[in-house]
Amino acid sequence: MTRAWAFLSRRRAGSNWDWTDIVTFVWLGAGLFIVFGPALWLVLSSLKSPAQLSEFPPTLMPYEARSVIVAGYENPLPLYKVTDDAGTRTLAEVRRVGTVAQMVDPADPGTIQKINIANRTPERDIGFSWSNYTDPFLKFDFLNYTKNSVFVTTMATLITLLTNSMAAFALSKYEFRGRGFVIVLIVATLMIPLSVILVPLYSIISGVGLINSLWGVILPTVATPTGVFLLRQYMLTIPYELLEAARMDHASEWQIYWRIVLPLTAPALAVLAIFSVVWRWNDFLWPLIVLSRQEVYTLQVGLNAYAGELNVQWHYLLAMTVMTMVPVVLVFIFLQRFITAGIAGSGLK
């Protein structure tokens, strides 16, 4: 333990503790709480029953009422802890009439006791409402939504990587008239948010007949200039001599792109791929607009179907939100090395 602490507190040059170390540890500790706390809270909440979700104050863990089978009663009866003049005891509730509950002692099922409801609290155990997770798959076609999401994410990412890297290659490794113009165009539109072109884009998609098609979701997103910009910046660092060497080596321009430039752009491609997967997986507003048929729903759109005019089915919504987070968390766990190293190394500027 002491060794672990010594290791943890190891500092540069082995000098004494100073305020910067304290700031470091406080910030990292707080960060741990602030970053993962909310996510954890979401996961725990997603396992609560609808009634428990609207409770205040909310409990940390999901609970379910404890019930007991009492002789003479057909259904299991909920247990309550009762505290009144007669002391504290555990009783099962038969029925409630206004502010008065009729309760029995499970050991003595014959005697009905009348208890003011203010004097009792339900007995509960930690219990998980797994049905929040299973119902959507049984009642709604979540498996199909997942398939659609995977399709959109994969295709969009592949097309993004291919077309963006091709364009970036042309824009970084060839001199031609109008190149500057294309670059300015791409950069100028780099940060135009979807909401700005929502309406005209919808009419275009509808004009080409891609409403309710997964391609209507995929195509507008793969053209985002971000990828071209990022890859071009990275390709600029590949020395021109390599391409000339390849040309001397009888390589065609396509081979130069595919065999030389693309492998060397791998770090930036990895970053773009990760971002593309995350972005496309999380896309919400645009798919919501394009897709209104159940068989083409993506997960995020399917999720939204839990919001009715008057009520939101929070228990399903939270559970499925957690489900949609799973791939992102997997990406996070398996690829975090690439993300951090890739962003740091890809000159993402």
Binding site: E244, A245, M248, D249, H250, A266
Partner: protein, 352 residues
Amino acid sequence: MGRIALHNIRKAYGAVEVLKGIDLSINEGELVVFVGPSGCGKSTLLRMISGLDRPTGGTIEIDGQDVTRRSAADRGLAMVFQSYALYPHMTVWQNMAFGLQNTRMPKAEIAERIADAARLLEIEPLLDRRPGQLSGGQRQRVAIGRAIVRRPTAFLLDEPLSNLDAELRVSMRAELTALHSRLGATMIHVTHDQVEAMTMADRIVVLRAGRVEQVDTPLNLYNVPNNLFVAGFIGAPGMNLWPATPETKGSFLLEGGTKLELPHLDLAGPVTFGLRPQHLRLDENGPLTAKVTLVEALGAESVVHAELEGGVRLLAVLPGQPDLALRSQIRFAFDPAALHVFDAQGQRVKTG
């Protein structure tokens, strides 16, 4: 195989003319070195030959065929780049095989050629490594190996030694020369280092500002430089160059005031005298009086920096370790036959 002829090659980037009409013919099996100060156009010229850039005017012939419009890959040449341009994501073997695979050569032959080249260059243990795991010298060999396996009609080497440290450069220089004699292939080597040019070349092409100043064997360049530029550029340390004006017949006044009696010369108008530092010797009766400013004793010889009258600088290489005090006055003599004379335009003046 491997004759290259350039006719009136010109290259301009916009209004800037980089090559101003170059004629040159390179013989089969020759090792030709392009040398000149940076910006003289030597690398540009090499790239014209390689086909990576197109000239704005003139023609390039290889083995009698006009290849001016042909692409780089179709000229049958191989190039070694200054940065080696090894593909970082491929192993040494893959680097060497890449070009051959692109020509759809049978696998067995690729393997054989690479094995041969690897043996020749002693890089067999490195074949599975990637360029990042190699030292500078090893990368250099791999880059050459990549060129060798192609069996090109000619090798083009673009300052291939400039990224090596001094010691390695000397040994690689020798190796390249040995390689050349073993392969017997035409090689064009570009460098800004005249020592490299002198030691390696069959013939040297001295370039300045987009023009060829002189093409000749190293020793001819040294002994009979065609003009002031070549005279000053070739040889280390550099030639002493003293502007002078004739006073009377056979008598010249150097800038700064030193008088020289050279009865065999009958020249009118201002001239520049050139004298290699090695051709000066100590002589108490010599015609040149100079004040010693610095002595670099190298053991076998000493380089003496001195000033003639009027602060004109003089450089002499003296054998052994002469005992010269700083700021002492000494006198030099020289063999008048060793004196190079250049006219006001900088061209060599024949002196018999």
